[in-house]
Amino acid sequence: MDDWKPSPVIKPFGARKKRSWYLTWKYKLTNQRALRRFCQTGAVLFLLVTVIVNIKLILDTRRAINEANEDPEPEQDYDEALGRLESPRRRGSSPRRVLDVEVYSSRSKVYVAVDGTTVLEDEAREQGRGIHVIVLNQATGHVMAKRVFDTYSPHEDEAMVLFLNMVAPGRVLICTVKDEGSFHLKDTAKALLRSLGSQAGPALGWRDTWAFVGRKGGPVLGEKHSKSPALSSWGDPVLLKTDVPLSSAEEAECHWADTELNRRRRHFCSKVEGYGSVCSCKDPTPIEFSPDPLPDNKVLNVPVAVIAGNRPNYLYRMLRSLLSAQGVSPQMITVFIDGYYEEPMDVVALFGLRGIQHTPISIKNARVSQHYKASLTATFNLFPEAKFAVVLEEDLDIAVDFFSFLSQSIHLLEEDDSLYCISAWNDQGYEHTAEDPALLYRVETMPGLGWVLRKSLYKEELEPKWPTPEKLWDWDMWMRMPEQRQGRECIIPDVSRSYHFGIVGLNMNGYFHEAYFKKHKFNTVPGVQLRNVDSLKKEAYEVEIHRLLSEAEVLDHSKDPCEDSFLPDTEGHTYVVFIRMEKDDDFTTWTQLAKCLHIWDLDVRGNHQGLWRLFRKKNHFLVVGVPASPYSVKKPPSVTPIFLEPPPKEEGAPGAAEQT
């Protein structure tokens, strides 16, 4: 390219200007042979250069194209990515402006089909009684929420009112009754149904069948109803077929400012319903909380594993409280979802967190157990430098000082080999038995419900012998077994730093929750300074207990320990009571005492060498089991340990033991 010399060819440039001038010039040229030759060679040279440059250009371009094409060889992944891309495209390619909806209501079966796709089908026996509600996006026809309210039972209609009120205006509502939905359908709920435009809903009677399609705040799109002819029979099955016109996407969305956060919010709100003000157009509730950082946070780099199933509303509530806790670091949080459920994943994405889905292995308790194992292994894989992991469940509220509590106590787990875990939960910490947020205990049981696991414990002991899928064991029961625990203890606070709100679960029901979890004390004070944390170490704790017992006033053992008058009307005193406990595993009297004190009595929790510590009437209340406990030596010789007779065999305790 460098040998290109433009000078000799400049002359011919002007040649086209004037023909006559050109002819004279040309004539002149013919006479100058040498010059002509020169011009000719010049021109040929010129041509040559052009050709070379051209070839070079072509080669270069081709090389560049090859490079870009060759390098990253496509593999199987690549095809998958293409495959995944396809489905939404197909959906979008044929924009249907009308949905054709079918709703069926009968005694034993309900179903809802949208454009031929069944979105709800329930024909299971003894299940799914009540009003099924489905919310569709008015622009896309996607199912945004699916609920069933057993309005045959009390209070379910309140939940339904709450839910329907949360649904954004304009959404398509579908209701259908299975079996019976009117027995506890109260006036408020009926009024709400009337306000939706329903005619049959407010007049719904015993064992009527009813199918309804309407727009919230808009017109009714279809309704069918069949009255039950007699008390002992059901209304005829009804099948409602109706067309639902779709509206434009803009109408279905709110106009929030265009920020990263709102982008997440918009995505979430276009997919699901039933999360209250997070999707409110006017005044949406924040999804970023930025709580105060903790000074000198020792758990800033401790990964947090949230174990979840398909309870997205629980997960939503849980993550809100977790992200509001002081000292939280969102990038350390991973939510593990047991199963390929979309909605929990949407909740995780709303908060901008990392979510991991787990193909369910095995059934029931073993499934939970396998999910725990996979989640814990993954946590330590994702954070290979972590020495600990915080394990949480989706049905917990997290105290505002949860991380502060851990930050102050986590060094114990590092320094004291006799510890098994730190837990935020005190099994015996009820409103009436817990008092002091700065106080910690050592207990021989593993409470779970928000706890810290040491990596070495998991990797070296638990993971290799974790129960295999065919063993239908609860992971927590397994962890409490002596083979695993090996005499080690857990640190717990007097006032729990987590609150168990879940009332739907594997081993859980409303009655059980009411009896054992509802009245649990939960710390709401931020920044509590824990007292004398180092006294929780193995030896120091014994010194502390001996000091406490020496100080404690011995109660009058002739009175009934179940009565409030068992304790004097004081505050801030320490009292001790001695109960009979023949052997290490003799909990007869303790269980009776726990029962009458209305604390956890389904198995033994919260003991430390035959000693229980709790509060009664704002006094520290110590219970020592004599003679099994080494602290029996503190018993004055005159005192006879209290013995409570177990009642004669009753009908069994409610349900199985809750997994906590």
Partner: protein, 461 residues
């Protein structure tokens, strides 16, 4: 007439060709400058200075990362090479005003940075900010390999590479992820179908052709060409790692299929052996690392890694390979000091060297030394009773990193060839009885040690 015609023809030809040529030249120059900036810097003559596209892109990138608190450091081998040559100078001159642009002004396509993902607090929205600053960015994501080892988990994709282009210069941001075994891992840069393959000349990238593994580097801050950047504290060490950083993942899917077919041995004994073997391997790795002797998983240990991603419970020993060039006489002493006494020593440095150390609880550590020939590698074996020598032949191989029992270790990159040489095509089928003198398909008799040498080449303890 014909003469005139010829002349006219010639003139016309010249004219069109010159016009054409001018156009071509213009286009070519444009194309070149669009490609890598060399064209433009050449045309500007010697004006290579602080306004080079690279310097400007790097400056803007550093402004971006520091405003976003993104924990990045410079890993560009070309620049690190320059820096490590003048390390003292660079360190001392950090305050002084740099007079000329020595590092960041060469006409190059890329500057490579690493992002320590685990230290990054706020990923949200930085992409957008980068684009507002004028960068055109490409993000390459993939599934998280750290979840592959666990049955049935699927997580959100993790970012592997960012390529951000400013005018003709691109910043290649390699995302380093933390892995078990105290090392940093980066992924393979694989373009998905919809991506622009001509976005940058991907082939010229120095990272991402394969996944890679690096020791976690300590960092230091330096000022180069007036810009504050973090670089590895020991750039020389980092540069040594670069060409040998290729990482291969264990084949978890196949391993799961294998374990489904043959069932894992989860008896107490098997688990106890695995634990001991793991500890022994960790101890050996630590000892050899301190000596600076590279090694790889060999024989049964390698097979266990490749076939089932774990230690074969009935293998009874841990096998390592070391190139004879890397042999150091203090290996024996170092192992002894680490609590692993020599059990036997066969052969000599010149021929068929093999060391065996006694670990705790009856687990043995075998070290085979590999000799390189023009077209193959081999290691030797010796039968203590008879003094017979054996030779095990392997096709030539190179070393790759992998993760095994929470450690970053070497394995032959050409693993299948290596394993097939040693165990035959049926290596997928577990065999519990194995005679090292006759079972391996790659064994050859190699004569017999002269009796006079026995004292030296057969040492049993």
């Amino acid at each position: 007439m014909s003469r005139i015609n010829k002349n006219v023809l010639l003139a016309l030809l010249t004219l069109t060709s010159s016009a054409f040529l001018l156009f071509q030249l213009y286009y070519y120059k444009h194309y070149l400058s669009a490609k890598n900036g060399t064209g433009s810097s050449k045309s500007k003559g010697n004006r290579i200075g602080f306004d080079s596209t690279q310097w400007r892109a790097v400056k803007k990138f550093i402004t971006l990362t520091s405003s976003q608190n993104a924990p990045v450091f410079l890993i560009d081998p070309w620049i690190l090479e320059l820096i490590s040559k003048n390390l003292e100078q660079v360190k001392n001159a950090s305050q002084g005003s740099a007079s000329d642009c020595r590092f960041l002004c060469a006409p190059r396509d890329f500057t490579a940075f690493a992002l320590q993902y685990h230290l990054w607090k706020s990923e949200d929205g930085w992409f957008r900010i980068a684009e507002n600053m004028g960068f055109q960015c490409l993000k390459i994501e993939s599934k998280d390999p750290r979840l592959d080892g666990i049955d049935s988990l699927s997580g959100t994709a993790i970012p592997l590479h960012y390529v951000c282009k400013l005018a003709t210069h691109a910043i290649h941001l390699v995302v380093f992820h933390e892995r078990s075994g105290n090392y940093l891992w980066h992924g393979h840069l694989r373009l998905k179908g919809h991506m622009d393959r001509k976005f940058v000349p991907f082939r010229k990238l120095q990272f991402g052709r394969y996944p890679g593994a690096f020791d976690r580097p300590e960092l230091q801050q330096v000022t180069i060409d007036g810009l504050d950047v973090l670089i590895p504290k020991d750039p020389g060490h980092f540069l040594e790692e670069v060409p040998h950083s290729r990482f291969i993942e264990c084949r978890y899917k196949e391993a799961r299929a294998f374990l489904q077919q043959y069932l894992d041995d989860n008896t107490v004994d098997a688990m106890a052996f695995r634990k001991r073997a793991k500890e022994l391997l960790q101890l050996a790795a630590k000892t050899l690392k301190e000596l600076g002797v590279p090694f790889w998983l060999s024989s049964g240990t390698c097979l266990g890694w490749y076939r089932q991603c774990s230690i074969i419970p009935y293998s009874k020993d841990v096998d390592l390979g070391i190139f004879i060039q890397d042999y150091k006489p203090d290996i024996i002493l170092a192992f002894q000091n680490a609590g692993l006494p020599l059990k036997h020593k066969f052969g000599k440095v010149e021929d068929s060297l093999e060391l065996s150390f006694q670990g705790k609880d009856d687990v043995k550590l075998d070290i085979f030394f590999f000799y390189e020939e023009t077209d193959h590698m081999w290691n030797g074996g010796t039968q203590a009773k008879t003094g017979k020598k054996f030779k095990y032949l392997f096709p030539k191989f190179t070393l790759c990193w992998t993760e095994f029992v929470d450690m970053k270790v070497h394995v032959p990159c050409e693993t299948v060839d290596y394993i097939e040489a040693n165990y035959g095509k049926t290596w997928k089928i577990p065999v519990q009885t194995w005679d090292w003198k006759s079972s391996p398909p790659n064994v050859q008799p190699n004569g017999i040690w002269p009796i006079s040498e026995w004292d030296e080449v057969i040492q049993l303890y």
